[in-house]
Symmetry: C3
Subunit: 347 residues, 3 copies
């Protein structure tokens, strides 16, 4: 691999000879000729003067030391650590989680259609009329209900269950134990105080390039679709209720819960353990702090909110900063009352 | 199906000819003779004048337009949208999630007793002395430990695990990935700071008509029973600790956690992400707002509480309403102090 | 079993004849000669005078009634109820969750190494080069990726998934549905607003004597290890992100979430639904109240914190105690303002 290949992989620019042949990835103190390494922390910039690496991945602002005899070629990127991991992975491609082929213990309905190079693990169950796109991998003990569609190049890890009729795009990754298409939570009260289960007739649609974390639960719509937009990433143990719509390239941290029919925009960032009430809309680009309770729609784009209930960040920070002063404030007011009584007597 | 049949299904009254034959369910703008449709939003009442549907499901308060040439038969219900879904389901009965019979890959202990018309999916494991009632369905990759009992007409979705000795009633629905009967969380501290696992010898009892959401965890009792009462509905990812008792027809939203030995009454409604401390009792009919922290027993029936810690709703709303004013309040008090100092000097 | 055997089991002292033969465990009102029972609540101490049990497990401070004709032998312990359960279990050893041997439906890679007396359930999948120590039990439908190592005497309940390369110690218990080694949640933003998945190349290490609750998710490290220290106990539905390190003998209640690279000390106690931000360190012996949001490192050992954000307990209690007074405080300040205006006019 030449430095040019690496630069292309990282969408990066090279300072130095980009025709250099790179043969290995190494720690900066162990690197030698033909090796690439990285400096993520500017305070280690001095290593650039002493390393014998042929190339170093560095941050955009990093300044090479002036006294360096020979400076290695530099690959300038936004995030040197992540970039290093991409290069490390390129040199050591991960073993696919499944061997080629269909495991003989898999139970696949004869009407299911599998693309080229689909891998299916042991004890998989695939229902009637399922379609799985080229190169997708369905790991051990996964269950697909009838009429499930999965695009090309997707990967479902062990023990995932996808219920009937749900549609999953291309290059989607679903971590182990996630449940797609469980019934939405809807019950009509009867006069005697018991409940009648409201039919949940819709499906879940997961668009291309989405990642769903371990043990997440994504409920099917009452009618129509629960939808997760292209490129959106969900961490573990997230609850997505019926008829929720999440936009594109939104990132949501673990254990967040989204109530029914709420719409979350594109390019949002949501912290962990956040709760969304139902039937609200969150504008594109909203950022929400961890453990917030979002009770109202956010109409303005690109704002940051947090708290319980969630309010604009600046306001929330001011408010939370004053909370610990509350006991002293109470004492102050009590004192002021006394002083005013005194003044009133005197006047 | 006649309109009379539909009225019976919906516990509803008909305004018009209830002998009408209904052949199809359709959208209001597409409906014709023999079709039934619905109006959920009163502002669409004007469609009643123009629709060619034979019958319309409407809310109890909806007034038909005075200028309508021919008004269709009306089916008056509390919740037109849910009712429409019930009728839609009656016309299009869902495909059962499993075909009839026992899949040959299921591993069923010879001592297990299966009722009539039990369906068992692929790769199911059923331990010694299990009993499954008539017409129940045990979907793919479900594991039942020994001595598990399941009543008639229940449905366990894929990848559910029920550990040894737990008892599940009739017409219970368990969504995929839920775990019933995992060990309660109890450890006795030893002098060296390590812990000794306290035996968890009890079971879980799930009464008739309960629904358990995807990836819920219901722990077995230390001794005796963890119990979920008849008709109670749990959303996804809910944690129910050892020896918890939940009453009848209580509804609990996703990601709520209930600590050990707490008793929740009947006909309660609990929001999402609520936390209950252990060993408290919640009266029948209590309503609890999302993300609340319930630290004390609720002894009065039919109250509404929320907040962290949860307090009566009116008090909580007043309190939370004042929070954003806190920074201004601090400034005011500071100012008042100054003015009093001034007054004291002057007096 | 003699009373001496029982005392040894409970790390307890006996008051009376420790050579007594104990044959049965019984309730205090039903116990007779040869039986052992317990009194957990001091107000039932009077039963000591009337019981016909040969021995009673009692708390350290319990005083036997002075008027008792014959007092049974006493076994003094810190926690009589838990101790009673240990004795009950000793008399009724639990049935192992699996029969001896390897179930014929298990799919075990030929390169896997199983120790003596390993039990493997139905539909288990075990990848290449897995190692399972003597006496461990791998229950039905568990999936182990390649290169997973499990020590001796561990127990993985049904539907657990352990991804490639993770290492689990001896005497570890993993409740059903837990996921070990799912990908950490890391994405590098691209200029077009989409994300590039950062390789997650590390593993999870679970040390000896750990217990992991049902449906927990423990992510693998980006590089290196996510580590759960010896003897630590996790309740259900807990999220442990990549590169988290938890010390030894720490106890964490259900639904808590720990963000990436956070380090939690040894001998900590963490309540349910707590959230930890990433990259912080929590000192040994810290206690954290349920539903807290921990945003900063805790450097002093053995403190108690809670709240959102979590602050020292005493401060948090004072602050939360004043919150309900906030509306009255606002009214007071408004009143004071008026009075000062009045005084200013008068002066």
């Amino acid at each position: 691999m030449t430095l040019r290949d690496i630069a292309r992989l990282l969408h990066a620019e090279v300072v130095g000879d980009d025709g250099l042949e790179i043969r290995r990835v190494a720690k900066i103190e162990e690197a030698g000729e033909g090796d690439i390494t990285f400096v993520a922390n500017p305070k280690y910039a001095r290593f650039l003067a002493s390393t014998r690496a042929s190339a170093v991945i560095v941050g955009k602002g990093l300044v090479a030391p002036a006294d360096a005899a020979t400076v290695p070629a530099l690959v300038r990127v936004a995030d040197p650590y992540a970039s290093f991991l991409f290069v490390l992975q390129a040199f050591n491609p991960p073993q696919p989680p499944l061997p080629p082929g269909i495991h003989p213990t898999a139970v696949i309905d004869p009407s299911a259609q599998l693309g080229r190079d689909v891998r299916v693990g042991a004890h998989v169950v695939m229902g009637a009329r399922c379609k799985v796109g080229d190169g997708s991998m369905i790991a051990h003990n996964v269950v697909l209900g009838s009429d499930v569609e999965i695009g090309a190049g997707s990967l479902l890890y062990p023990s995932v269950a996808v219920r009937e009729g749900c549609r999953i795009g291309a290059r989607v990754i679903i971590q182990p134990g996630a449940i797609i298409g469980s019934d939405g939570f809807g019950f009509a009260p009867l006069p005697d105080g018991s409940y009648n289960k409201i039919p949940q007739l819709g499906i879940v649609v997961i668009e291309d390039d989405v990642e769903i974390g371990a043990n997440c639960t994504i409920d099917r719509a009452t009618m129509g679709e629960t939808r997760i937009g292209k490129g959106t990433k969900l961490d573990n143990l997230i609850q997505v209720a019926h008829n929720v719509v999440i936009g594109e390239h939104t990132v949501i941290a673990a254990q967040t819960g989204i109530s029914g029919s709420t719409k979350i925009g594109s390019h949002c960032m949501v912290g962990g353990q956040v709760g969304f009430t139902g039937h609200i809309e969150i504008a594109d680009g909203t950022r929400i702090g961890a453990q917030s309770g979002v009770h109202r729609s956010v109409t303005e784009k690109n704002t940051t909110i947090f708290g319980y209930p969630a309010i604009p960040q600046r306001q929330a920070l001011r408010m939370m900063g004053t909370l610990p002063q509350l006991p002293d404030l109470l004492a102050s007011v009590r004192e002021l009352k006394g002083e005013i009584e005194q003044l009133k007597k005197e006047s």
